[in-house]
Symmetry: D2
Subunit: 327 residues, 4 copies
């Protein structure tokens, strides 16, 4: 029997979402302890993600550990903030300023330490500001040199904490260096540390015209490097961060099938921006969709999927899915 | 009770599909009479589309009429071929050569007459070659002048045959003049003939980042101008002409809901290119998906959809769809 | 001789740009009077745009009028803010809440009155929040009803102020109702007021896979409805709001050619977000590019462009442009 | 002094281009010897590419060698045809049929041998049909196994001939396995043969939202694996195969800069589809654009580019390019 997924969500899911037009946010803002409480109101949610400095810091780490534990939750990921203030605007690990580079590495290392104190296995390394916007602005070679050496420095610091690279083709830069599953694997390969792997953020992969199922398979094919998953949905061209199940039904099913098939046993974390939705309900819907789709795989039978994929018969796949979805 | 859709398909669905790499086609080629016979083997298919000159001409129109009738089918649409030979390569109605323009109009008029002889209400006017490829190549003003006057000339010729404009943003030109639902309605408005309306080809609308449901609603909002529908699916960025249900489940459901809501009573025609699939099976799958999704609307209840849309509550929509699809 | 373009820019160009990751902005924030002063430091800039409530209100309108005049500038456009706070998050003119709808109309009317007091001809009506994010969320018919009646109400209030509709396919909603040049013209046609027209924001049009030159030609073709222009550049898939000239050279040239050709005599306003750039320099670069490209048209000779377009000879166009750009 | 690029073109450039609508082609078709003659009429063109079986085979290889030499040309690349007939429709190296897989490998080996006989260093391995169209159709693991082992088998056969992998995200499949520069480098790394590298087809990279300059830099960064270049242009979303210089001016300049910077010394080959253009003129325009842009780099001065890139100052880049292009 395939084990059931375990679900997590960034506690910011429950906070007001903002965009470049409504900078003050579409909803209400809450303190961290309330955000943790809100997480407990989502059925099936047993883990939470925290952002370094936003939710956890040197002074409150023990208190946060207790709050999360008291809420019956575990911390599944700490995300160092190396992208949300103007100081990172021209890059973190790839900044042309060595002080910024060193500060970014220190920020990551701090998050690794907080993660360890929180019994959390994973930190999420997203190089959101590391890229370029304009032609003739990117300095590709030094960028890769710095990404490689910086990740090694972090990875060596605390080998028991996993560094999970999160790729994204663009935003906030028009071009990010670590843009695709392929580039992510190249970086992992160069870094060559057992505690460095990748996550797939579903929306980021869709933006890159990747089939998320294929990307998951590749990350496992090249050394079992899929350490974590971020779920959401979008309209394929931008990181809309919508709830799971809102647009893509069948591709999500294909992803879930391959995750099990490739023995992915990590968390199923939500990374959604419910700007105009209630965060608790948005998380709940996402989990219910994921659970429902996962159950559908069992109902149809894994071996039927295996046979269809072995045959490559797209119309057999269509019939199988149609009967399951529309019976 | 909402009436059930009636299904049609271009008989070319059953012929070998070709692309620019495999010009000789991925499958086998059949004569017209066999293509008609193949249509009878698709359960639920009661109509066929024909292409002018390819399948019907002055000499065989009566014979084709009989063959289709004997097969228990009706002709739902005749498509004039004003795009499939090099003579149309630089445009049909908008060609800079007045002889080509006149020839194109004549081709359309011939198809209208064949349609009438075949008791077919609709011809499909697709301006595939009318556009431009390179910067500084398009002559926008004369193009619109010619489109307007050309369509009027055709429409006036046989007012009892409906001319259905099929828009598409690109391919075979990198830019087609009649690219979006908005431009189509502008042309319809200028032409201002009761027998001129539009179809939505689902894939063309997806390529244009249109929500097909919204496009259908608009065509009806602006004077009940949705005369016909072409169904297929794609990956949103190109006219992949895949079978219905293969990628987009929920958007297709939203489209079907709005078609009924806006009192669309025309044909549900397939426009798919099953390059590597069996054409009969591809058509069958598409119809079964459409029927299944249409039934799902009834099962959920139209009034529930109405209430959800009135509220604009996206998570209520999510829950309703999830329960119906994954129960 | 073709008259030279007159340039304007939103004074916010000189303020810190923010996005959903760096909500506090990438640069420094300045008060309105300093922003106006900064505009004077851009050579060739003679106009400014203001945003209602942000820069101008009932209490300061006379003072702003004087400040702008003293700076030797004119106000070219006032943009009512009906999208930058959470109250507009579910729509302005198309909100399901009649109070919000009325408030939005009042906001527009106030901006029209400020515009009049500022001797400014134009207000920019951008329906950024009027659209939907999720399937089954949009209520297309009531949305159009409300857009039409709301615009009429505003237009009738002060017929001497021009209302300029700014279309955009998405952001901040995943789907905006007034998404393309075609839909904009449909709305203009329904509204049918002489003081209602459109602008093209170059980046919005690029996102919609429009050729901006063609869109400009169409807006003039259908009743001289191009009232205003927003210039910027992007990578074609998102509203990156980059400086003019940064990515697309030849398409910008084609647009400038057609603007003159179609007798566009309105302002050439910048709508750029120089997140990580100095605003004054970014505006200056944009104007210098526009001036340089405009001069290039004269150098090549308008009649040569006319001949190339009349012929449709793409390689002749290529040679002409190549010689001009690379001589 | 930077050496000047050497130019090549597939002789098919001069033949009629066809697409899925105009299967018989937009122009005239010519025999191979005439195509070779046509190549001599393009100034600056000193190399030609041939397609296996189409232009060269076991019986005519010596004759072709002589014809090319007599024309004063050299063969720069032989492309095995493993994608242009229905037998390859469901894959070549990744076919589920072992006979097809073996046949594909044999076809490549034959092209390698012809290349050797023609004193040609390079064969172009494009896995156009190796991918999938529908969800649940791709069998990712066996596909990669087969790609790796198949390429090794070919590479080992004739180590003195370079195998150049050509990536493309889609077409003719909706998803190709070797889709991006990242995946290409992963395959190269696994294959690990000194005679296996990659090319960048500019249009394929643009479709994948890659910056071609960055992709070139990466291929060199990871072991000098950029062996060949295919030049063309497009509108960024599809492989339009337009002439160089038609749309993207500045990005092409950035690519040319980085090719020199990364010591790329291979051919600058054209891969254009001048459907409605004269092939000789289209090739000539492309070469003149490339030469002109390359000269512009020298005129501006390589060291100025280096300084701008080192600073990351996008407005300095803008000013430098503007002055060079619009002076």
């Amino acid at each position: 029997m395939t084990p059931k997924p375990r679900f997590s969500a960034n506690i910011n899911t429950f906070n007001a979402g903002a965009d470049r037009y409504v900078l003050s946010g579409y909803g209400e803002r809450y303190p961290t302890d309330e955000l943790i409480q809100m997480a407990t109101r989502v059925k099936g949610l047993t883990g939470v993600e925290l952002v370094g400095l936003w939710h956890v810091n040197d002074n409150n780490v023990e208190q946060i550990r207790r709050q999360v534990a008291d809420a019956g939750l575990v911390v599944t990921c700490v995300t160092p903030d190396i992208w949300a203030s103007s100081k990172w605007g021209r890059g973190s690990f790839t900044s042309r300023d060595p002080n910024i580079r060193q500060a970014a590495i220190q920020e990551v290392i701090k998050s690794m330490e907080w993660a360890k104190q929180l019994d959390c296995e994973v930190i999420d390394l997203w190089f959101g500001q590391d890229g370029y916007d304009y032609p003739f602005q990117g300095d590709f070679l030094s960028a890769w040199d710095r990404l490689i050496s910086g990740v090694i420095e972090c990875a060596d610091h605390l080998p028991e904490v996993k560094i999970v690279l999160e790729y994204k083709p663009k935003e906030p830069r028009t071009h990010c260096y670590i843009a695709t599953v392929g580039k992510t694997l190249l970086l992992i390969d160069k870094v060559n540390c057992p505690n460095v792997g990748a996550m797939i953020d579903v929306g980021h992969a869709l933006m890159a015209y990747e089939n998320t199922a294929e990307s998951a398979a590749l990350l496992q094919y090249f050394g079992n490097k899929l350490f974590y998953m971020h779920f959401n949905d979008n309209w394929r061209l931008w990181d809309d961060d919508m709830t799971v199940g809102s647009v893509h039904t069948i591709e999500m099913l294909e992803l879930l099938y391959w995750l099990d098939q490739m023995n992915y046993t990590g968390w199923y974390a939500l990374d959604i921006f419910p700007y105009r939705e209630n965060g608790i309900r948005a998380a709940q819907e996402s989990i219910l969709w994921l659970q429902g789709l996962h159950n559908l795989l069992d109902k149809i039978g894994r071996e039927r999927f295996g046979a269809v994929i072995a045959s490559g018969d797209s119309m057999e796949a269509s019939a199988m899915l149609r009967e399951a979805i529309l019976r």
